[in-house]
């Protein structure tokens, strides 16, 4: 009985890693499409996003089954409940990547619009997502805490980009739609950073049993 439960927990862990990998690919592809103005690559991101949605449903079903059939307690319960919460955040990361890709496919943004700040922000966000999933895989408390702290960096980039865009808006030759698109992209990256923080917090909860915020 227990060994079957352990097997199922292991499978859950693997599924979560795979879902994390899908999220990483989605955000990396969206960022690359943005950096290179590659609309073809951008059009592939929604597919990944759909894969992520499917995976979320699979994992949710798996968690529900485990909760009902095994009635876990203590650490097992924490693992499963945090998995249930984590998939929601992962799914949002997938969605946001899809949103960025969608903006890229509209081809309002040219490669030259990609300021250094946006690229830095994309890199920082990818790092956060990757690290949060690494923290989950390795059950690394220090890394999870580092992800939570790193959110300030991404937030800082968002503020800088906002200031840049405000200046652009002020100039007479500015393209309003483009500026708004860039602002949306920056906001999506900022949201993904927040979701990575949430994932890191759930990782901490599943290890320590304490959840802050």
């Amino acid at each position: 009985m227990r060994s079957k439960f352990d097997e199922q927990l292991e499978l859950l862990h693997k599924e979560l890693i795979e879902m994390g990998a899908l999220c990483e690919s989605a955000i990396a592809m969206a960022a690359k499409a943005l950096a290179e103005g590659d609309t073809k690559m951008a059009s592939k991101v929604p597919e990944l996003s759909a894969d992520i949605d499917r995976k979320e449903r699979d994992i949710e079903t798996m968690c529900m089954k485990l909760l009902l059939q095994q009635q876990p307690v203590a650490r097992d319960l924490r693992t499963i409940s945090s998995a249930l919460k984590m998939v929601t955040d992962m799914e949002r990361i997938g969605d946001n990547s899809g949103d960025i890709a969608e903006i890229v496919t509209m081809a309002n943004i040219t490669v030259s619009d990609n300021t250094k700040h946006i690229q830095d922000m994309a890199r920082a966000t990818i790092k956060m997502v990757t690290d949060s999933i690494d923290a989950f895989v390795k059950k690394d408390i220090a890394l999870a805490n580092a992800v939570i702290a790193y959110d300030d960096v991404v937030d800082g980039f968002f503020d800088e980009i906002k200031t840049d865009l405000m200046k652009q808006f002020g100039s007479p030759e500015s393209n309003g739609e483009k500026v708004l698109d860039l602002l949306m992209i920056a906001k999506y990256f900022e949201r993904m950073g927040d979701h990575a923080v949430e994932i890191a917090k759930w990782v901490l909860f599943s290890i320590t049993g304490k959840k802050e915020g």
Binding site: E10, E18, A21
Partner: protein, 558 residues
């Protein structure tokens, strides 16, 4: 086991107790009835003697409670009864015991009295006058007997339960104790039950077998580890679920992990989608491969399923580092593309001009100009083909070329003599400094190095600029430095100018001339001499390229 032994012993004790007490009661009942019969007979004898002597007076004087005495007349009428009124009693002639007494002198019977709800034992004796004296006594039934003894029986039963429980528990512990104390690590050192010794001997034999087999397995594992650890390819063995059974050093390095990850899931080390897809395919029993880009290069991954009994029981993952291979392939592709392009351009000019000439569409006075163009383009092609041949010759390691003592200064002098006209045409001062330095090398290649460097220095120079060639010598090396006052090389191009066909300014290559192979030839020729090339260039100020021929290394090439 202890519990079971306890239960068995306890049950046996209790059931033996119950059975024996039942048997005991039965025997006891039989015994008591015998005694009662005898007593009855004795009492009847006594009573009959009394009645024969004294008649009814004796009976009336008699005061007994345990017995009922009845005196029956010869006709069966009751003459006296110690319990009931004589007048009310019926004729007793037909009673069994009376009949028996009349015919045999003594008779007994037992009856269940419906009036008194008890079993009675009767005894009758015929007196000498033909009357019968009868005594009856209540006989206790087995149930009554048992009920009467209920209290002691219960007490004994409770004591028996406790005693048997205690003994059963002690006994079961005692039986099990040697079994628990068995030292299975050394089965033969136990002296518990003799009955266990075949089992223990068997365990011992099996343990020895297991030890032997695990030693063999360990040795095999070690051999396998040693073999795989020296492989430059990465090798990972996974079980059907994706857990790592074995990973060699190269694979761990490729995947960027330094810890020992045997027993973990492969996804914990690398969760790339490509790898997940590869493993899923392998799990479906298909062989698949993929080029994967990791942080430190490009790797070709090959996943093959291990199929046993119709199911995939494991996956073998092979990883090759193809970074260099891919780079080399890339270079080769670029080279081929460049060569075709460079060869095609002059051919187009030649074929176009020749076509015009052939069709007679060229005015006679223009013919020399066309011929000249065809000639110069053909020359350029020859130059190009020569350069390519020279390069491929150098690639082959400059076979058939003679190593000899070469004077760097003399070689530089020779080159300057050849190039002086060209330099003069462009108004460039060409100067040679330094001393005579001898090195061991291939004269032709040394000249080519200096020629190409000087040629570039002139080509990419300004009018009125200068080119200086310096030959010098230190303890460790002999060096030729060519410096110019030319346009310089931007920093981002400095790394690539030694590649074949690489040009900083691609748009003006035709005006300047050259094949784009010069510096590549320099690089290869220098490499053949184990020489080191140093580049120092500032845009719009000039470039200095120094080729250093190491002295010590040159000796062993002799």
């Amino acid at each position: 086991m202890k519990k079971r032994i306890f239960r068995t012993i306890f049950a046996v004790a209790i059931s033996i107790f119950l059975a024996s007490s039942l048997l005991f009661m039965a025997v006891l009942y039989d015994y008591f009835s015998g005694i009662q019969q005898n007593q009855l007979r004795m009492q009847i004898d006594l009573a009959s003697q009394g009645v024969e002597g004294e008649g009814i007076d004796y009976l009336q004087k008699l005061n007994i409670k345990d017995y009922r005495i009845t005196w029956i007349g010869t006709d069966g009428s009751v003459l006296y009864d110690s319990l009931s009124n004589v007048e009310e009693m019926e004729n007793h002639f037909e009673r069994e015991e009376v009949k028996e007494a009349l015919s045999q002198g003594y008779g007994t019977s037992s009856r269940y009295s419906s009036t008194l709800m008890q079993k009675y034992l009767y005894g009758a004796k015929r007196l000498s006058d033909g009357t019968v004296i009868r005594l009856s006594v209540t006989q206790k039934s087995l149930l009554i007997l048992t009920l009467g003894m209920l209290q002691p029986i219960i007490i004994i039963f409770v004591i028996a339960i406790f005693l048997s429980a205690f003994l059963a528990s002690r006994l079961s512990k005692k039986i099990v104790k040697p079994l628990n104390a068995l030292n299975l690590d050394k089965p033969l050192d136990n002296d518990g039950y003799d009955e266990l010794s075949p089992l223990l001997r068997r365990i011992d034999a099996q343990q020895k077998e297991i030890r032997k087999q695990s030693a063999v397995l360990r040795q095999k594992q070690n051999e396998f580890d040693v073999m795989t650890s020296s492989m430059s390819e990465g090798l990972i063995l996974l079980n059907g679920k994706g857990t790592i059974l074995s990973i060699n050093e190269a694979a761990a390095a490729f995947l960027g992990t330094d810890r020992c990850c045997t027993g973990e899931d492969i996804l914990e080390i690398n969760r790339g989608l490509a790898l997940v897809g590869l493993l899923n395919k392998a799990r479906d029993g298909k062989h698949s491969e993929w080029i994967m880009e990791l942080e430190n290069g490009r790797y070709q991954m090959i996943a093959s399923p291990v199929i046993s009994g119709g199911t995939v029981s494991g996956i073998v993952l092979l990883i090759f580092d193809v970074t260099e291979k891919e780079q080399a392939e890339q270079l080769r592709r670029e080279f081929t593309a460049n060569v075709s392009h460079e060869l095609k351009t002059p051919l187009h000019t030649i074929s176009g001009s020749a076509e015009l000439l052939a069709n007679g569409m060229v005015k006679p006075e223009d013919v020399p100009a066309f011929s000249k163009r065809i000639y110069s383009e053909a020359q350029r092609m020859i130059q190009l083909v020569e350069d390519i041949m020279r390069l491929s010759h150098l690639d082959e390691g400059a076979a058939n070329m003679k190593w000899e003592t070469v004077s760097l200064y003399a070689a530089a002098e020779e080159v300057i003599k050849v190039l002086s006209d060209k330099a003069e045409n462009m108004g460039i001062k060409l100067e040679l400094y330094g001393e005579a330095v001898q090195i061991n090398g291939i004269d032709q290649l040394i000249q080519e190095i200096i020629y190409n460097l000087c040629d570039n220095a002139i080509k990419y120079n300004r009018r009125g600029g200068s080119v200086s060639v310096t030959v010098r010598e230190t303890d460790k090396y002999a060096a030729v430095a060519v410096s110019d006052t030319g346009i310089g090389i931007p920093a981002e191009h400095q790394e690539r100018i030694f590649e074949r066909f690489y040009r900083v300014d691609k748009s003006h290559s035709k005006e300047i001339g050259g094949t784009g192979l010069g510096l590549s030839i320099v690089k290869h020729a220098a490499k053949l001499h184990n020489a080191e090339i140093q580049l120092h260039s500032v845009v719009n100020e000039g470039t200095e390229i120094t080729v250093k021929f190491p002295k010590a290394d040159n000796d062993h090439l002799l």
